[in-house]
């Protein structure tokens, strides 16, 4: 292996090794925060794949996590399907619906696509809220946990493993030829198509993959919380995911990861004073989108580049 390769792998490896330790010294509360952060890492990174890399700003991402959670949850409650299987099925359902939605949106540009995904998300939320015979609506549906014995440490490692898996997939996609075609579509869809790129396939692929990931994340989340509500597929959740990606840095690999951890941890501190975190994040996200479109990664990256140059 060349020196470059060793360097590339060692940094993430160090992070992963560090990540193995939290259950040993963190309190139950902070372990919970870590688990939630990992959920958001999965969500923000996969949203980044469609929005940051192919330019399709979908507002249905939270809805797909809801699909994963409710599909798996209802299967477990009504048919006794074991959670691990339920989650897989939920992921599949989300992928299928993502494929469908992506196909539906194929002839639409930015505005229309966003509106359609918005409509889709709200339709789903309204259905879930109203069909309370099956979903218990806003009261919430109690579903079994992933593990028969409850242990935050176990959930932490579960989330960690799945998150790392998803991140590896995303990393591979971004750095592959597929990723290049994604960015081509992001930069200029017409020019990409005129250069031979099957932009339809690119867009639908991005949609399918990212919604599958959201479904997976949602399924896990549901079986961790053990109580799922229509809050999961809500626009409020969508906003958080979006804010994390935007503030962390859309269009970069690490951006959403940083954004998720930073915002989730911050929100815990802010909650001491009151429910102001949404407002605050919104303002920061606005400032970022306006002045630093590449997010925290962009700011840090620029500083880095300056140091290298001098």
């Amino acid at each position: 292996m060349s020196r470059m390769d060793i360097k590339k792998i060692s940094l993430p490896l160090i992070f992963i090794i560090i990540a193995l330790f939290p259950p040993f010294f963190l309190s139950q509360y902070w372990l919970h925060v870590m688990i939630i952060s990992l959920f958001y890492v999965m969500m923000a990174s996969s949203w980044n794949l469609i929005a940051g890399f192919t330019g399709q700003v979908s507002f249905a991402h939270a809805a797909f996590s809801g699909i994963g959670a409710y599909a798996s949850g209802m299967l477990a409650v009504n048919l006794g399907v074991p959670p691990w299987l339920g989650i897989l099925i939920g992921t599949g359902v989300a992928a299928l619906l993502g494929l469908g939605l992506g196909y539906l949106c194929i002839r639409m540009g930015g505005i229309y696509l966003s509106l359609t995904t918005l409509g889709f998300s709200e339709i789903l939320r309204i259905i879930i809220t109203n069909e309370d015979k099956w979903t218990r609506g806003t009261m919430g549906l109690q579903i079994p946990g992933f593990f028969s014995e409850y242990s935050k440490a176990n959930y932490y490692y579960l989330f960690l493993v799945v998150t790392i898996f998803l991140l590896i997939v995303i990393y591979w996609i971004i750095h592959s030829e597929m990723g290049l075609t994604f960015r081509a579509v992001l930069n200029d869809e017409l020019a990409a198509s005129s250069s031979g790129i099957n932009t339809i396939r690119v867009r639908i692929l991005a949609f399918t993959i990212s919604s599958a990931m959201a479904g997976l994340a949602g399924g896990l989340y549901g079986h961790y919380l053990m109580l799922i509500t229509p809050d999961i597929p809500s626009l409020g959740q969508m906003f958080l995911v979006l804010a994390m990606a935007v503030i962390g840095g859309m269009g970069s690999f690490i951006g959403p990861i940083i954004g998720s951890f930073v915002l989730e941890i911050l929100s815990e501190y802010i909650r001491i004073y009151g429910e102001y975190h949404v407002l605050l994040f919104g303002l920061v996200a606005l400032a970022m989108a306006r002045f630093a479109p590449e997010g925290l990664m962009g700011i840090v990256g620029k500083k880095w580049r300056k140091e290298w140059v001098h």
Binding site: A51, G55, V57, F59, L104, C105, R107, M108, G109, G110, I111, Y112, S114, L115, T116, L118, G119, F120, E122, I123, I126, I127, N130, L235, G236, F239, L242, A243, V246, Y276, V278, L279, G282, L283, A285, L286, A289, R290, P293
Partner: protein, 282 residues
């Protein structure tokens, strides 16, 4: 009676929708914060008239004015720099809407507020049923506003500038239209229309901070249904949606009231994206 409700709501929808349509047509920006401007206007109207004792009609005018100014402020600080980058303007207005929603929650509190009626009592419609006078008044005020807007767009220099910019930005600046100023004023006007719709409806249906999402989405559905950039479309679309939603809620199911709108939205976007009266573009 549901039909009448539908018509009244429909006309108000139309005003709201024109607010969105203007901004989309001129600037290719979907103003997600539309609903928030609407309820802010309602709240201003309420607080001006109840807490400060301003006469209701004046409160309405002032609220609309505030919102107009806020709209201009928004355009200058946030929207203008993102012009041309569709993705960022979407993100910015979406985030803005969440920020405003939360701000409303903090400033105004979570409880519904209702500015006082301008008139009270009910009138007998065609001898069939009684219908609230405030609603009737709202209807006529809305018609008045719509007519005013049509006049503004079709007859005045400002209106012509707007149409020129929306059709061909480059050409219009060559002809001497200050398109940055038109942008700004259109955004303000769009916001003012949202505010207008808000103050008209507030005496009938109280405003709450969370109601803004439904407002925005309804406006979007109307704009898409009627066709982006078409004023006539907004009116027709607004009426249609108002009627369908009310009839649907009455005869089918009240809980799924809003679903009708979304289903229509998606159907149109898939099969006939340019709506009823919009331009068929590439």
């Amino acid at each position: 009676m549901y039909l009448t409700n539908g018509i009244v709501i429909g006309v108000i929808n139309a005003i709201s929708a024109i607010g969105v349509s203007l901004i989309v047509g001129i600037m290719r920006v979907v103003n997600f914060a539309h609903g928030e401007l609407y309820i802010f206007a309602g709240y201003f109207s309420y607080h001006l008239s109840t807490s400060l004792g301003v006469p209701p009609l004046l409160a309405m005018f002032l609220s609309i004015l505030f919102i107009f100014l806020i709209g201009i402020g928004m355009e200058r600080t946030l929207i203008r720099p993102t012009y041309g980058d569709e993705m960022y303007s979407l993100i910015i207005t979406f985030v803005l809407s969440i920020v405003l929603q939360n701000a409303a929650l903090l400033i105004f509190g979570p409880y519904p507020n209702k500015p006082p009626n301008l008139v009270s009592g009910a009138t007998n419609i065609f001898g069939l049923y009684h219908y609230g006078n405030q609603r009737l008044l709202s209807f006529f005020i809305s018609i008045g506003i719509l007519l005013f807007i049509f006049y503004l767009i079709k007859m005045t220099w400002f209106g012509k500038s707007i149409r020129a910019v929306s059709q061909d930005r480059e050409m219009s600046s060559l002809v001497g239209v200050d398109h940055l100023r038109v942008n700004m004023l259109s955004f303000g006007l769009g916001a003012a229309l949202a505010g207008g719709a808000g103050v008209i409806i507030a005496p009938i249906f109280p405003v709450t901070p969370t109601g803004s999402t439904a407002v925005s989405l309804t406006a979007f559905v109307v704009v898409v249904l009627g066709g982006m950039g078409s004023l006539k479309g907004c009116v027709v679309g607004g009426l249609m949606l108002g009627i369908i939603e009310n009839l649907g809620a009455a005869y089918v199911s009240t809980m799924y009231r809003h679903i009708f709108g979304f289903v229509i939205l998606i159907l149109i976007l898939v099969f006939r994206p340019w709506g009823l009266y919009g331009q068929k573009t590439q």
